[in-house]
């Protein structure tokens, strides 16, 4: 297993956001994470990437114990993520935003950078090579020099994805990537997600309310409610799970959308 | 002969002054001098020459003083610098001016060091140094009390510290036993109540207040309010009846002692004094909107008259050397704003133009001078 989540709990004062969640994500697996609003999905992401320190439980990744590890180390371990509500560097261009994702490859410090030491230059060159690959893959080349703040929402989400991908993660955490996309765009996104997994041979943990997308791309789906796991299995089983339907899907068009 | 800044009809004089920044209160001096020289020019100037007085702002910031002084000397080509304000500011340019042999006349600071004619022959002070003043107080304390317990409140800068030094000069090895407590304040402190409480609880029976008007007024009031009755001295800087005694409370200041050399415009004693009337007439004619309770106008007028005397003495030889020579050759010059009996005297070995003081006690209505005019020596 690549990611092992064991009894992770998180409380904020009186609010219990996670009440002991356990599940695994395997290598090269796309795992969908669903659940009602406020059921703790983003909180779980934040626990994995170290932004929150879980109040109980443990998270292991590729052998490392993540609980208690430093936040800025996560990307080096191989965990890349995007954020539910865009977390871009607003005054910077698309190119620079993505390059920050390659920060952890570099070793050049203040002095080497200021002097443009050969090592620093070599690093910069290799970062730029990675950049052009990612720009191509996500078709962001045309807007590379634009300030991110002026781009449409979905393009900004794509920049975030590019920023995560340039770091060559083993596990990609995607928080609602389909927000604001229309039907055909969601279809394309689904292809993209699968392609990323196949080409880069990575695992993806995907939070999304767009059932269409989740059911299409996921190998497995985990459902949360009130911070606890209520279902875990293949998309089809989870989708037909009565608990999941009661708590999350309801009886509308969505349930059948896939 | 080489006479920089001088033409047949004019002489250029420079001054750096704090027209902006924290010390901008002193800008009044510069304005008085500007008005004075203007009125002199209107009356024909000195020895037929008009005074071209260039007074510039340095904000009381030494690096700017350097810049402005260099501008005055190198660009404007002034003959000499006159009455520039401040100890750190003048210190910053002292070396430069002396190297260039530009007279630095009658600097507007009471620090003791301006009398150092051997190292800095081109720099001369003006008013009695704070240190001299403090020596006078210390001597008086020793004369009147057997075993005084002295407390000192001083501003934490060269001004305040000179008072501590002056008292040390007189007390010598006794300083540590006689001075039971010395505490400082910063000029930006909002109040000095805490310091007064500390000083009182030291058990002192004598208090020397080396403070600017605002703090002096606060101190005098607080000392009275907490029921402390020390033998109390206040720096000559803070004798203004209008700016210190009245705000503190005329009755709260009774018994307060100071050393005076000039006349305070707000002291009723000088209401009909011919000398002060001359100043008032000048102010009325030239600076009608000025606040007459501000002692800086009196000071500026006095130091301006002193310079006029120097220029008169120079005659037609306005070389820098002669200007310096005349500035250090003033004999018993009487200035209408100085106390009767106090005269301006300089010599090549005396760079302290005013070195006399007379003790005075506040009697509830006016400063009542007592004892004789005391000559302090620059140390």
């Amino acid at each position: 297993m690549l990611l092992e989540i064991r009894d992770v709990a998180m409380r904020f004062g009186g609010v219990v956001a996670l009440a002991g969640v356990s599940f695994d994500v395997g290598r090269r697996e796309i795992c969908g994470l669903i659940g009602p609003n406020g059921s703790g999905k983003t909180t779980l992401f934040n626990c994995i990437s170290g932004i929150y320190r879980s109040t109980a439980g443990s998270i292991r990744f590729d052998g490392h114990l993540l609980t208690g590890a430093k936040r800025h180390r996560m990307i080096g371990y191989g965990i890349g993520r995007t954020f539910q509500n865009l977390a871009l560097f607003r005054t910077m261009s698309v190119r620079e935003n993505i390059l920050v994702g390659a920060h952890h490859f570099g070793r050049a410090g203040f002095i080497a950078s200021a002097l443009r030491a050969p090592g620093a230059r070599a690093e910069e060159t290799s970062a730029r090579q990675r950049l052009s690959t990612v720009l191509d893959m996500l078709e962001l080349g045309a807007v590379a020099e634009h300030l991110v703040a002026s781009l449409p929402f979905a393009t900004q989400k794509r920049v975030e994805l590019a920023r995560a991908l340039i770091s060559s993660p083993q596990l990609l955490l995607m928080d609602e990537p389909a927000g604001g996309l229309n039907h055909s765009e969601v279809d394309q996104l689904a292809d993209l997600i699968r392609a990323i997994r196949d080409r880069m041979a990575i695992s993806i943990l995907l939070v999304e309310h767009h059932m269409n997308l989740v059911m299409r791309v996921s190998d497995r789906v985990v459902a949360l409610e009130f911070g606890s796991k209520i279902a875990d299995g293949s998309p089809a089983t989870v989708q037909s799970d009565p608990e999941v339907i009661r708590a999350y899907l309801g009886g509308g068009v969505h349930a059948q959308a896939a | 002969e080489d006479m920089p800044g001088v033409t047949a009809t004019s002489i250029k004089i420079g001054q750096t002054e704090a027209y902006s920044g924290n010390a901008s209160a002193y800008g009044a001096i510069g304005r008085t001098l500007t008005a004075l020289f203007k009125s002199v020019n209107e009356a024909g100037g000195v020895n037929g020459r008009k005074i071209d007085f260039i007074s510039v702002d340095d904000g009381y910031i030494p690096p700017r003083t350097v810049e402005q002084t260099r501008r005055l000397v190198e660009e404007e080509g002034v003959s000499f610098m006159f009455n520039a304000l401040g100890t750190p500011t003048n210190t910053a340019v002292q070396k430069y001016l002396n190297m260039k042999k530009v007279p630095q006349l009658f600097v507007a600071t009471g620090a003791d060091k301006w009398g150092d004619y051997q190292r800095y022959p081109w720099t001369i002070g003006y008013q009695p140094s704070y240190r001299t003043e403090a020596q006078v107080y210390a001597k008086y304390i020793l004369k009147t009390a057997k075993a005084p317990k002295i407390a000192i409140l001083f501003q934490n800068d060269d001004f305040g510290k000179d008072y501590v030094l002056g008292i040390k000069d007189v007390l010598g090895s006794q300083y540590d036993t006689l001075v039971v407590k010395a505490v400082s304040y910063e000029s930006t402190d909002p109040t000095i109540d805490s310091q007064i409480v500390t000083l009182q609880s030291s058990g002192a029976d004598t208090l020397v207040i080396a403070a600017i008007p605002k703090m002096a007024a606060q101190a005098i009031r607080k000392v009275y309010d907490i029921g402390w009755h020390p033998l109390e001295f206040v720096s000559d800087v803070s004798v203004s009846v209008g700016a210190v005694i009245k705000p503190a409370g005329v009755e709260k200041a009774v018994g307060l002692i100071t050393g005076l050399y000039g006349k305070d415009a707000t002291d009723p004693a000088w209401a009909n004094d011919p000398g002060m009337n001359e100043w008032r007439a000048f102010m009325k004619a030239n600076m009608p909107d000025a606040d007459l309770t501000d002692a800086n106008y009196v000071y500026g007028y006095g130091v301006g008259l002193t310079l006029l005397q120097v220029l008169k003495q120079c005659g037609n030889d306005l070389s820098r050397a002669n200007i310096m020579k005349q500035a250090t050759n003033l004999k018993d010059l009487e200035i209408p704003t100085l106390l009767p009996g106090i005269k301006v005297n300089t010599s090549p070995t005396n760079y302290h133009p005013i070195r006399q003081l007379q003790l005075a006690r506040w009697n509830g209505k006016t400063w009542e001078r007592f004892g004789e005019v005391i000559s302090g020596a620059g140390s």
Binding site: E96, R116, S167, E185 | R64, P88, T91, A92, Y96, D157
Partner: protein, 333 residues
């Protein structure tokens, strides 16, 4: 594009050198101060403009640099040029140490803390126990460097060229630093610290080091300033200095390297201009000029220059032609 920029910079430098032979001592002194303040403002810009940590107290680092140089020159007879590296190191250390607690504070709280440092420093310099070194309230007078043997330059010319050379090197280093990996991280932290951390930026390390570098720049400026003014005293470094540097930063342009030069020119020349307008209220005139400037050009000289450039060079339209989401065949390896 990069080539023309290089050319412009070289031309600017050549002019700056040529000026040394065209102007008199006093003007050179002023220009020396402009270069000095420009370095200080650049330092402030690194931490405040680029890294988003507001400092209202950089005058303190300027003062420390100045005192280090003055003490070394007067007490230990160290040559003026040799004091620069020492002062750089000491200021960087101070900056680093100061950055540690400052790390935890954001926005206003940091602004207060730095401001407090600037207020307290003159008092510390006056502290009796330090007087043997600092000279207490009297300060330290130091002597002016002469041009090295063989160069037929006046003291002012030499000092100006020396300062200019130091300044040029420091600007170049800053430009390198800010355009590379570290520079991106510095700005990323300003824009979104949480995301920056998730991208592997060690916030604590980066912020404290940025603070240290910033203090180093301002400290070296302080050293150069002390050499030029030949005098240091607590009164030279009141809070007003910190505020002045801040004004220079804002006027020059936040997060701009070249803006620092304009900002420095502003704080050197405008006060003189103000007092020529009115002696009675020189401060008010300066304040009005400052407000007026920011009123009409809120993003500073650099912002104005950027806008003019943008108008001259037609931009690609900001609107994006819609691209289909998809993957090319030659994807990521």
């Amino acid at each position: 594009m990069a080539g023309t920029r290089m050319l412009a910079i070289m031309a600017g430098l050549a002019c700056a050198v040529a000026i040394a032979f065209a102007l008199s001592g006093y003007h050179l002194f002023q220009l020396t101060m402009v270069v000095t303040y420009a370095i200080a403002i650049l330092g402030l810009n690194i931490v405040t403009g680029y890294n988003g940590q507001i400092s209202l107290g950089h005058g303190a680092f300027y003062a420390i640099g100045a005192y280090v140089t003055a003490i070394l020159m007067s007490n230990y007879d160290v040559p003026y040029w040799a004091t620069l590296p020492v002062s750089a190191l000491i200021c960087a250390a101070f900056g680093f140490a100061f950055g540690l607690p400052a790390l935890r504070l954001g926005g206003l709280y940091l602004a207060l803390t730095t401001f407090a440092l600037a207020v307290a420093l003159p008092q510390l310099l006056k502290y009796p126990a330090l007087e043997p070194w600092t000279g207490g309230v009297q300060g330290i007078v130091i002597s002016k460097p002469e041009a090295p043997l063989g160069l037929r330059l006046s003291g002012d010319q030499w000092l100006y060229l020396f300062t200019l050379a130091v300044g040029a090197v420091m600007f170049l280093l800053a430009a390198n630093l800010l355009s590379g990996r570290i520079g991106r991280a510095i700005r990323a932290v300003r824009d979104n610290p949480i995301a920056a951390e998730a991208m592997g930026v060690d916030l604590a390390l980066l912020k404290t080091r940025a603070f240290a570098v910033s203090a180093l720049y301002t400290g070296v400026a302080g050293s150069l300033g002390a050499i030029a003014v030949q005098f240091v005293a607590p009164d030279s470094f009141s809070v007003f200095l910190s505020i002045t540097l801040f004004v220079g930063l804002v006027v020059g342009g936040v997060a701009s390297i070249s803006g620092a030069i304009f900002g420095a020119a502003f704080i050197v020349f405008v006060p003189n201009l103000a007092e020529q307008v009115s002696k009675a209220a020189a401060g008010a005139v300066y304040g009005v000029i400052l407000i007026g400037f920011l009123y009409f050009i809120p993003s500073g000289f650099a912002g104005m220059a950027r806008r003019i450039l943008q108008r001259m060079i037609p931009q690609r339209p900001a609107m994006l032609v819609r691209t289909e989401v998809g993957v090319r065949e030659n994807g990521h390896a």
